[in-house]
């Protein structure tokens, strides 16, 4: 069969329309990406069969598996380190990302495990190009805390790269600390400090 101009036009139109449709269907909103992530994490934290110190390793592994799906640690590490990110090689970057992720796991997942009665409300979301902010409030025993998730679009999903609590940005906080350290010390010194910090959490009951 010979392709006429009309055929080509129809086929072309079909491809254009379907590509638009697939984008519209496949990419969930930032809130839709975040909701199942937080729910899954809360389910693991409140799961009685995973509670207690004896299940810590298993519980942490599960939480981090979920977190790895929803957080973009590379984007986070990039921003946390800032300019020096360009001055280090890929191996150093991977090492830094791993250490920083471990620190967040030690600090914040450990803290999160202490809460059990949290109610998360999704209030608002705003998208600007490939970035988005999802605004939530967490209620825990009568205390209401506004938490904003800063997300970046990655293919067909949105991933978190910063958390902002009452104007205090997680990334910004570490960024300033690292900047202050790197003013006096070199990158290897910073890596050593990260390793030492992570070591302080070992064997600690949380």
């Amino acid at each position: 069969m010979r392709m006429t101009g009309k055929h080509l036009f129809v086929v072309g139109l079909f491809f254009i329309v379907s590509s638009y449709l697939s984008v519209a269907v496949a990419v969930p909103s930032p809130t839709e990406s975040l909701k199942p992530l937080l729910n899954e994490m809360m389910t693991i934290i409140t799961d009685p069969s995973l509670a207690g110190e004896e299940h810590k390793k298993e519980r942490r592994a599960k939480i981090m598996a979920v977190a790895n799906q929803g957080f973009n640690w590379t984007e986070m590490s990039k921003r946390v380190l800032g300019k020096p990110w360009h001055e280090i090689n890929q191996k150093q970057r991977d090492n830094f990302e791993q250490l920083f992720t471990k620190l967040l796991e030690n600090a914040y997942v450990g803290k999160l495990e202490g809460y059990s009665s949290q109610v998360i409300t999704f209030n608002d979301e705003r998208v600007k190009e490939e970035k988005a902010v999802v605004s939530t409030t967490i209620e825990d025993n009568g205390v209401i805390l506004p938490v904003h998730y800063i997300m970046i679009q990655q293919n067909t999903t949105w991933k978190v790269y910063d958390i902002n609590i009452e104007g205090v940005s997680l990334v910004q906080n570490y960024r300033e600390q690292f900047r202050s350290i790197l003013r006096k010390d070199n990158f290897d010194g910073l890596v050593k400090m990260l390793e030492e910090k992570n070591a302080t959490f070992d064997g600690e009951g949380s």
Partner: protein, 276 residues
């Protein structure tokens, strides 16, 4: 009495500065937000903030700090750290053991309620007449139904949320910059503007008009601080546990949260609040 006079004089002076500044704010608010492409609220600001940039100079000044006194500040940070571990923590331990959580919670409410005049005045000074009304309503409801402010029925039963404003925030709204960052002994993180605001607020606290004794005021302040600590016992130790440089972390938390509070009125980038 002398102090009051100075305070008044300074207020008048600042009002002049404020009037000059107020005009700009009026203009900014009249314009539609889209047209000037200024962030409309905290969420827009977070979207606009991309602090990862190829060119370090292009970074928004929003997150910068002015800390030329860092060596002295670090000294007092260490001092406060010792104060915490050697004094506050053991005192808090005993305090928490003696008083049940309900009582400490109620005392916390009482302290907040008693400082309502500060919030009322500062809401008015910032032109937030509606919020000032809410502060007044909260004070009246909590002082009566809430039994001298020990309960918070205004929030629980009437849904009136607190509107925290202090003189440091008022000064910021009037256009006064932060000044250098300070880590004050005992009091903790602050800056020149907020230290001044803190001192001014002490004069609008009803305490000083009922009891004319600095030691009673100081004791009340210390008591309220211990009580606050007993309600959030992990805050400081968590910060220390998570941070590689707790001094920098605390400075950042203080400056960010203060800027966040000031930003509730101004539709401006935080860069504009800088002293430089």
């Amino acid at each position: 009495m002398k102090h009051h006079l100075w305070y008044l004089l300074f207020l008048v002076l600042l009002t002049c500065v404020g009037c000059a500044q107020q005009k700009d704010i009026g203009i900014v608010q009249d314009l539609p937000v889209e047209a000037v492409e200024e962030p409309g609220d905290a969420m827009d600001m977070m979207l606009a903030d991309d602090f990862y940039d190829e060119d370090d100079n292009a970074l928004c000044e929003a997150h910068t700090f002015n800390d030329p006194l860092e060596p002295i500040n670090r000294f007092f940070f260490e001092f406060n750290d010792k104060l915490y571990y050697w004094f506050l923590k053991p005192v808090n331990k005993a305090y928490t053991a003696v008083l049940p959580i309900e009582l400490r919670f109620s005392f916390g409410n009482f302290v907040v309620n008693l400082s309502a005049p500060i919030r009322f005045l500062n809401n008015l000074l910032q032109g937030k007449v509606y919020d000032a009304g809410i502060v007044l309503s909260r004070f009246l409801i909590n002082s009566t139904l809430g039994v001298y402010g020990f309960g918070d029925p205004a929030l629980v039963d009437f849904g009136l949320e607190p509107k925290p404003e202090d003189f440091g925030q008022t000064l910021a709204v009037w256009g006064v910059g932060e000044g250098v960052y300070l880590c004050l002994p005992v009091i903790g993180p602050s800056n020149v503007r907020d230290s001044f605001g803190f001192a001014a607020d002490a004069y609008t606290h009803p305490m000083v008009y009922f009891v004319d004794d600095i030691w009673v005021s100081a004791g009340y302040y210390a008591g309220s601080r211990i009580n606050l600590l007993s309600l959030n016992p992990d805050l400081y130790e968590d910060l220390k546990a998570y941070a590689l440089d707790p001094y920098v972390s605390m400075r950042q938390v203080y400056l960010d949260s203060r800027r966040n509070r000031v930003d509730d009125l101004k539709l401006k980038q935080r860069c504009d609040n800088d002293f430089k």
